[in-house]
Symmetry: C2
Subunit: 210 residues, 2 copies
Amino acid sequence: MNSIIEDLNWRYAVKQFDSTKKVSDSDFEVVKESLRLTPTSYGLQSFTALIIESNDLREKLIEASYGQRQVADASHLIVLCSYSTIKNEDVDSYMQLISNTRNVAMEHLEGFSNTIKGTVNSRTEEEILNWSTRQTYIALGQLLHTCASLRIDTTPMEGFDPAKYDEIIGLSERNLTATLVCPVGYRHEEDSAQHGAKVRKPLDDLIQTI
Amino acid sequence: MNSIIEDLNWRYAVKQFDSTKKVSDSDFEVVKESLRLTPTSYGLQSFTALIIESNDLREKLIEASYGQRQVADASHLIVLCSYSTIKNEDVDSYMQLISNTRNVAMEHLEGFSNTIKGTVNSRTEEEILNWSTRQTYIALGQLLHTCASLRIDTTPMEGFDPAKYDEIIGLSERNLTATLVCPVGYRHEEDSAQHGAKVRKPLDDLIQTI
């Protein structure tokens, strides 16, 4: 079997982590760099990854995650947050980053800047959040793949209370909305979920050629 | 450099494909299988990947893609579509798939089935489409990563006219909404975009430890 497919088949949503096993610093650097390299619309990177190290916070987040202990038991807890709003200043900072990285004068970026600002300013606050949220799901897709390739386990979670996360972590003052929670670490040998055959539609049901 | 990071750094959004280069059948099987293994909420897989082989359709889609020729010039064109609605029958089919795959009696799946149906039926049509759309972005994240690992180029595209795609491909009669377009193939040696340094925020701006 192709090694990519082996990686993706190895992955499953962990129900019980082995809390004694920690992801090494060198592996976690790859995980972080993979997040950083996530492709996003216009390259705006309108998300932030919060790594929750505080045990106190992680214990509090269990209840806000409907009792799912993975948020406290996994080696690391990543909370992927989306920008609640995108302001012209965010676009300006991005242009500055491009200018610095590629050694391009700011005036040559005006067209691109205006395009993005036009898009951003034509959208309602709800549409902006929806848009930035979608980019955050790309980050999740890339994150899960990277972890699987490193043989690091994950539990992608939509099932949590964003308002409680906001309250516990203090997100709104950072202009962030919690979109996805992803504990990463190593499966417990007693996690029976690892033995279930992977359930996926046959290729012909999922993919159609026209 | 770690090989995963090498792959992700190699990737960029191709502006011009070499239309003479085709992705091999064996590589494209990996691409399709990677789409099939995409993790989704509850495992529902509420998306469909359409592979547009018809040259006639692909030429028509250029205009619906605001003139971006990649949709016609790339080796393969993938249109990722989200379920516009999710019906109880979709959940029932999924339960049947679990039952067959894991050899579990349908009655043991009733709790899980009711949970999903409860979620689905409590949401408006717009919320369902938003939800299924987000899952489709996970598929994109996994797809881009897989292609990069295979050294296959991609152009992830949000910038197209979904209504025109619907009309040209006939999506609404399939209960689908076009979410993302992704031409895959090989960069043209004259595509100057490949030489631009990758622009990404520094790690400390994107990732915060608490």
